[in-house]
C-alpha cells in the first residue's frame, strides 16, 4: 500500500520540543510551607486579607487528603516542585515591550496573528505571571475589566472580596486548597450590566521551569444582562520531570447574563492537570462550558454549573482524547437548586493506544423543585483493543416534577464505514481520521474558528500512528 504524506498539516507548527533556558527572575525554593506562601504574597504586594486567605488555604491543603477516586496521581511529589516564579518585573502593555524570548514563544503558538484579527485583549502568562496584557480601547470604555487577578486584588478589592473563593471555597478539595494558597496569574473579568463583549477574550499559559507548577486563578463576573466568551488554551514544552497544573476558575453569571468558557487543553504528556471549575447561574442566566482535553498525563476536571435562580440554563460540552499513557478523567456536573431550570451535558471521548478516557458526572436536583429538565449524553469511541473507556454518571433526583435523561454509548469505528471510505480511495488512516472528525464535529462546531482548526490539527497528529 502506497503511503501518502499527511495532507494539510505543517507538522513544524506543533513542535513542543522547544523551550528556553530558565530566565525566571524570582523563584521560590522547592516545596511548600508558610514561608513560601508569605514570599509569594509579598512579591505580589498583596493586602493583608489576601495573605491570610492564602495561609488558611495552605493549612487546608496540608490537612486534606488526596482523592480516593479518579486518575492515578501517585507520582506527584509535592515537595519536589517550585510553586512560583516571575519572569519580568512589570506588566507590559504593548507587544513591543515584551522580552524577545517570550515573544518568540508566543509567536510560535500564534498570538500576534490572533491578536490582530480576533482578540480584544490578551493576558499572556509565562511561568505563572501575566507578562503582557492589553485591553482594547472600546472595551475599556464600556467598563469591561480584563486584567490579571493580582491587579484586580489591588485595584478592585471590593468586587474581588465579594466573590473570590465563594464559588470554589479553599476547602472544596485538596487541589483547590493548593491553588488558593499559591495562585498566581490567570484572569479577572468583570462585564458591567447590559454590556455584550462581541469578541472572545483569550489568554495563554505556559509551563517552562523544570518541575514547575501552574496555579492560575480565574474569576469572571458577568453582571446582569451581559455576555462574554472567554477562551483558555495552553501549550507546554516537554520535560522529563512531572509538572503540576492546578487551576481554579470561578464564574458568577448574574441574572440574565450569559457566559461561555472555552478551553482547549494540550499540556505535554508529563503534566498533571487537576482543575476545579465551577459556575453559579442566577435567575435567567446561561453558562456554557466547552472543554477540550487533548494533552497532559493525567487530567481531572469536571466543569460544574450550579443553577440557583429560576430560568437558569447550563451546558457542558466536553471532548477528551486519551492517547498512549494518558488518563482523561473528565465530565461535568449540574446542580439544580431552583425550579424552571435546565441542563445539558454532552461528553465525547476517544481512547487510543492504551489510553483511558473516563466520564464522571453528577446531576443533582434538590428537593421541592418543579419544571427541571436535564439531559446527559456520553459517547465513547475506543480505537483499539488496548484502550479503555469508563462511564460513571451519578443522578440524584430529590423532586418529582423533574425529567432527566441520561444515555451513554461505547463503540469502535464501524467496519462498514471504514470499508466504504476506503473503497472511495482513502487510506485507512485518512478514513479513520474522517470518521473521528465526524464523531467530534458537533462539538468542534461550537469552537471559534482558529480553535477548531487547531483542534483538528491536534487530532490529526494524535491519530497518526493509529494504523500499522
Amino acid at each position: 500500500m502506497k503511503s501518502q504524506a499527511p495532507a494539510t498539516v505543517d507538522i513544524g507548527e506543533y513542535q513542543h520540543g522547544f523551550s528556553f533556558p530558565d530566565q525566571s527572575v524570582f523563584k521560590t525554593r522547592k516545596g511548600l510551607d508558610e514561608g513560601v506562601v508569605n514570599a509569594i504574597s509579598h512579591a505580589k504586594n498583596e493586602p493583608e486579607w489576601m495573605r491570610q486567605f492564602r495561609l488558611r488555604s495552605l493549612r487546608a491543603f496540608q490537612k486534606k487528603s488526596m482523592p480516593n477516586w479518579g486518575a492515578d496521581l501517585s507520582d506527584i511529589n509535592f515537595d519536589d516542585l517550585y510553586y512560583y516564579a516571575r519572569p519580568t518585573d512589570e506588566q507590559k502593555k504593548s507587544w513591543d515591550d515584551v522580552p524577545a524570548y517570550i515573544k518568540e514563544t508566543f509567536e510560535r503558538i500564534g498570538i500576534p496573528e490572533a491578536e490582530r484579527k480576533f482578540l480584544a485583549g490578551v493576558g499572556a502568562q509565562y511561568d505563572s505571571e501575566v507578562v503582557y496584557h492589553s485591553i482594547k480601547e472600546d472595551l475599556a470604555k464600556k467598563g469591561v475589566i480584563f486584567t490579571d487577578p493580582e491587579t484586580a486584588v489591588r485595584e478592585h478589592p471590593d468586587v474581588v472580596k465579594q466573590y473570590f473563593g465563594t464559588v470554589i471555597p479553599y476547602l472544596d478539595n485538596k487541589f483547590a486548597a493548593l491553588n488558593s494558597a499559591v495562585w498566581s496569574g490567570g484572569s479577572f473579568v468583570y462585564v458591567p450590566k447590559g454590556v455584550k463583549v462581541d469578541v472572545p477574550l483569550q489568554a495563554y499559559f505556559r509551563i517552562n521551569a523544570r518541575s514547575f507548577g501552574q496555579f492560575e486563578r480565574t474569576l469572571i463576573i458577568a453582571d446582569e444582562g451581559s455576555f462574554v466568551h472567554y477562551i483558555e488554551g495552553c501549550t507546554a514544552p516537554i520535560y522529563a520531570t512531572e509538572s503540576l497544573h492546578s487551576a481554579v476558575v470561578e464564574i458568577i453569571a448574574l441574572p440574565g447574563s450569559r457566559v461561555r468558557y472555552t478551553t482547549i487543553q494540550n499540556w505535554s504528556n508529563d503534566v498533571y492537570n487537576l482543575v476545579t471549575k465551577r459556575a453559579l447561574a442566577h435567575k435567567d442566566a446561561t453558562v456554557e462550558w466547552v472543554d477540550g482535553n487533548i494533552g497532559s498525563k493525567r487530567t481531572m476536571k469536571y466543569p460544574s454549573i450550579y443553577l440557583v435562580g429560576e430560568g437558569a440554563h447550563g451546558e457542558v460540552l466536553s471532548i477528551a482524547f486519551a492517547g498512549k499513557g494518558q488518563e482523561q478523567d473528565t465530565g461535568g456536573k449540574a446542580v439544580h437548586a431552583a425550579s424552571h431550570t435546565s441542563s445539558i451535558i454532552t461528553a465525547k471521548s476517544i481512547s487510543k493506544a492504551g489510553g483511558v478516557a473516563t466520564y464522571r458526572g453528577l446531576l443533582k436536583v434538590n428537593e421541592g423543585l418543579h419544571d427541571v429538565r436535564s439531559r446527559v449524553v456520553c459517547d465513547a469511541l475506543i480505537l483499539d483493543e488496548r484502550s479503555r473507556s469508563n462511564t460513571f454518571p451519578y443522578m440524584e433526583i430529590n423532586s418529582d416534577k423533574v425529567s432527566s435523561e441520561h444515555e451513554a454509548r461505547v463503540s469502535k469505528i464501524s467496519e462498514e464505514q471504514l470499508f466504504y471510505l476506503q473503497s472511495r480511495g482513502m487510506s485507512e488512516q485518512e478514513a479513520s481520521l474522517m470518521i473521528v472528525n465526524g464523531f467530534l464535529d458537533p462539538l468542534v462546531k461550537q469552537l471559534p474558528m482558529e480553535y477548531a482548526v487547531e483542534l483538528n490539527r491536534l487530532i490529526e497528529l494524535e491519530m497518526e500512528g493509529t494504523v500499522g
Binding site: 487546608a60 473563593g165 471555597p169 476547602l171 465551577r278
Partner: protein, 110 residues
C-alpha cells in the same frame, strides 16, 4: 421530653463550649458555636454532604464546613457559600446562669 411548641432544653455549660462542640437532643445532632458575636446553634449535619459543622472553622459570623467549605450564617443557618445550596436549621439560644439552652422543637414530617 418533646412538645409541639418549643421547649427550652439545657444542652451544655458555658465553660464546656470553647469554640465549637456537638450536642445531641433526642438523637438529633446540634452544633454549638462561640463567636465574637455570641453563642449560636445550628444543625450539625451539613446540607451538602454528610459532614459535621461543629468541626468547621468560624470566620466573620459564618461557619465553613470542613469537608468542602460550604458556608452558613451562624445566626440564621442561611447558605452563604457553595457547594451547599440549602440552608441548615438555626436554633434559638439563650444563656442563663452559665448554662446554654436551646429552644427545641421536634418537627415531624407531614
Amino acid at each position: 421530653m418533646s412538645a409541639a411548641v418549643g421547649t427550652w432544653v439545657r444542652v451544655a455549660s458555658e465553660a464546656e463550649l470553647v469554640s465549637s462542640m456537638c450536642v445531641t437532643i433526642e438523637g438529633h445532632a446540634v452544633a454549638l458555636f462561640r463567636a465574637p458575636e455570641g453563642v449560636f446553634a445550628l444543625d450539625d449535619v451539613c446540607s451538602h454532604e454528610y459532614s459535621r459543622l461543629s468541626e468547621g472553622e468560624v470566620w466573620e459570623g459564618e461557619v465553613y464546613c470542613p469537608k468542602h467549605g460550604s458556608r452558613f450564617a451562624l445566626a440564621t443557618g442561611e447558605v452563604t457559600g457553595l457547594p451547599a445550596t440549602q440552608p441548615v436549621r438555626a436554633w434559638p439560644v439563650k444563656i442563663e446562669n452559665g448554662e446554654i439552652w436551646i429552644e427545641w422543637q421536634l418537627q415531624k414530617p407531614s
